[in-house]
Amino acid sequence: MNFPKYFTIWQKLGMHSLRLTAWLVLVFLMLPILVIIPLSFNAEPYFTFTQGMLALDPDAYSLKWYEEIINDDKWILAIKNSFYIGLCATVLATVLGTLAAIGLSNPVMPLQRMIMAMLLSPMIVPLIITAAGMYFFYTQLGLAGTYLGVIIAHAALGTPFVIITVNAALSGFDYSLMRASLGLGATPIQTFFKVIMPLIRPGVISGALFAFVTSFDEVVVILFMAGPEQRTIPRQMFSGLREQINPTILAVAVLLVVISALMLMTIEYLRARGERIRSGEI
């Protein structure tokens, strides 16, 4: 670190200790995630480092927990379910959320603030309450224990994120472009897909990613509402952690970390792109 010349020794010391603290916090944030990566290659069925692992003995490491995932029908079903439910919920949430965000960003919209607070409420209400309420209600409709029920529930949880991201993308939107397009003879549908959509696309995609992660991560609603057929990865992990802990869960966790890293990269790319669109570079 380069300090200005007028800094006293105490100020320099203060800056150094700040840097040290900041790094310690970063270690606290990252270490729990990093520590499971080597543990998932453990040859022994433990959640801890064995002597062999510390000595870097190749025999102490193995891929057997990853093989176990592939060979276990339950995990394969859970993986399929997670993607199927996640994708369906994402499509539903993204379409409805994008339309609503466009309507809400229009200044003529009545009761804007109240509707916004209501549409964002699924994000704030604790999942256990949502899950309990949905369980009562969806059972009466015969939707509990069905894919449709779980997809609707997850879509409802994902929409607030779509509204927020699309709303942000629309914050710099120039409505005269829309009027120009309509004035030049384009139909409303053409205007939507050819004029509005390309400009807000980064917001829509990052909203969709948020909606997907919300569903992909969600376990409380699944716990209450889903039947054994709709078990997802988090649900399978939850019962694994409660019943018999073995490193297969760690292997799954590492795969999930990889997926999150990919999503983070996509989001960051989209965010940078969205900023450039807003500033008029593209």
Binding site: I36, F49, A100, M116, A117, L127, A132, L241, A253, L256
Partner: protein, 438 residues
């Protein structure tokens, strides 16, 4: 870089941001009546179009989300089970004054014996027993065994002499208290679940009195304490990192931000799993501490309140860092420098000049962390043991294990009320429409 971006001036401007100001034309052109009508028509059309865009989601959220929560709230006060099981008895009991200390007339008991016999034949007596037992422990076996014996007695005999039969089978049917409980359990709308959720009950005279054992209030109190502790911890831990990131060169800050965002994006179950691997008896932390000879015997850290707090602090830390970071980035460093050059000591200058400017970020982060942590379920359920359970866990328990859905609904409604209050405060101070992601 931040997921949740709240700038200081946004916070100031929210007061009137939600209201839509009517378009004011600066030039005083006078419109003809036809033009004005046309303008109104256009305005109406634009409004209709905007509403059409919002309606599908509004309907969807109403049906898929608001209605379920609404039915849950309704369920916490509406409980018709007993009134559906023994409608005739309750009808005849309505004329009985339960404060006299005399048991209902024989006619009422006759009707009840008939209904109990019918329930026994339909195998529903257990349901009634369970309901009455909740209000008066010990009644379950009385009702069940009476029902069993009533099955063998002739219907006509019960219609006229059911009261004698009941009393002959079990003398407890003489008790006024029992009938009082049956009468009260029969009311379809009830506040008893809320009373239970608040550790209250009704005494014989019907007055509300505190219960001897306080379970739920204590649990609410504990959940509030844990949530507050987590909020304070995330603020203390998050502040130096946010400050460092906000004042580091852009390139360093962007790189280091990945280390904040990756945990944020990582599945909550993954992070909980990591903490189990770290904290368990033979886990990484204990092995490390033993290896360095700091301790000789492993410490029991998992399945305690400590593990709940540390895991949740880790999980919720990004929710504090992100708003704090974006507020700090918007703070002009020259104020602090000015204070220094005017002769202020660094620490008082930091506390009196810089810290107040970070308040919007801290309050946004703190409210967010507090709201999320108060209703947390998964992490306490997995790492909390008995001592680290929060209010959500007892709601889940009543949903899944004890099957007392109405009590679960009442407990949930109280929690929901608390969260809605905080959400309202958040909307007033920060503005929900100012939450930005990505």
């Amino acid at each position: 870089m931040s997921q949740i971006e709240l700038t200081a001036d946004q916070m100031v401007n929210t007061a009137g941001a939600g209201q839509v100001a009517p378009a004011q034309s600066s030039d005083q052109t006078i419109l003809t009546a036809a033009e004005a009508a046309q303008a109104r028509k256009n305005e109406r059309r634009r409004k209709t179009v905007a509403c059409l865009f919002v309606t599908p989601l509004l309907l969807f959220v109403l049906i898929a989300f608001i209605a379920p929560i609404g039915t849950m709230l309704y369920r916490s006060v509406y409980h018709p089970t007993v009134s559906q099981l023994i409608p005739d008895t309750l009808q005849s009991l309505s004329g009985w004054d339960d404060s006299t200390g005399i048991r209902p007339e024989d006619a009422v008991l006759n009707i009840f014996s008939l209904e109990l016999q019918r329930l026994a034949k339909e195998r529903k007596a257990g349901k009634l027993a369970e309901e009455i037992n909740r209000a008066r422990p010990g009644s379950s076996s009385l009702i069940k065994s009476t029902a069993r014996k009533l099955k063998k007695i002739d219907r006509n005999e019960l219609a006229t002499g059911g009261a004698d039969q009941l009393l002959a089978l079990k003398p407890q049917w003489q008790e006024v208290e029992l009938w009082r409980v049956i009468k009260r359990s029969g009311a379809p709308f009830t506040d008893k679940f809320y009373l239970t959720a608040l550790d209250l009950s009704r005494d014989k005279a019907g007055d509300i009195v505190p219960r001897d054992t306080r379970i739920y209030l204590q649990l609410y109190w504990k959940s509030l304490k844990i949530a507050l502790l987590i909020t304070v911890l995330t603020a203390i831990i998050g502040f130096p990192l946010s400050y460092y990131l906000a004042n580091a060169p852009a390139k360093t800050a962007n790189t280091l931000m990945v280390f904040v965002l990756l945990p944020f994006w990582t599945s909550l179950l993954v992070r909980t799993t990591s903490w189990i691997a770290l904290l368990q008896t033979n886990g990484v932390v204990n092995s490390f501490l033993q290896w360095t000879h700091i301790i000789t015997e492993p410490i029991e850290m998992l399945y305690t309140q400590f593990s709940t707090v540390i895991a949740m602090t880790h999980i919720l830390l990004p929710f504090m860092i992100l708003p704090l970071y974006s507020v700090m980035k918007g703070i002009d460093p020259s104020y602090f420098r000015a204070a220094l050059s005017l002769g202020a000591k660094p620490i008082p200058a930091f506390i009196r000049i810089y810290m107040p400017m970070t308040l919007p970020g801290i309050s946004a982060g703190a409210l967010l962390v507090f709201i999320i942590s108060i209703g947390y379920y998964i992490t306490p359920a997995l790492v909390g043991g008995t001592d680290g359970q929060m209010i959500s866990n007892i709601i889940a328990f009543h949903m899944q294990s004890s099957n007392n859905w109405e009590l679960a609904a009442a407990l949930g409604s109280l929690l929901l009320g608390l969260i809605m209050l905080l959400y309202w405060v958040y909307d007033r101070t920060v503005g929900v429409s100012n939450i930005k992601l990505g």
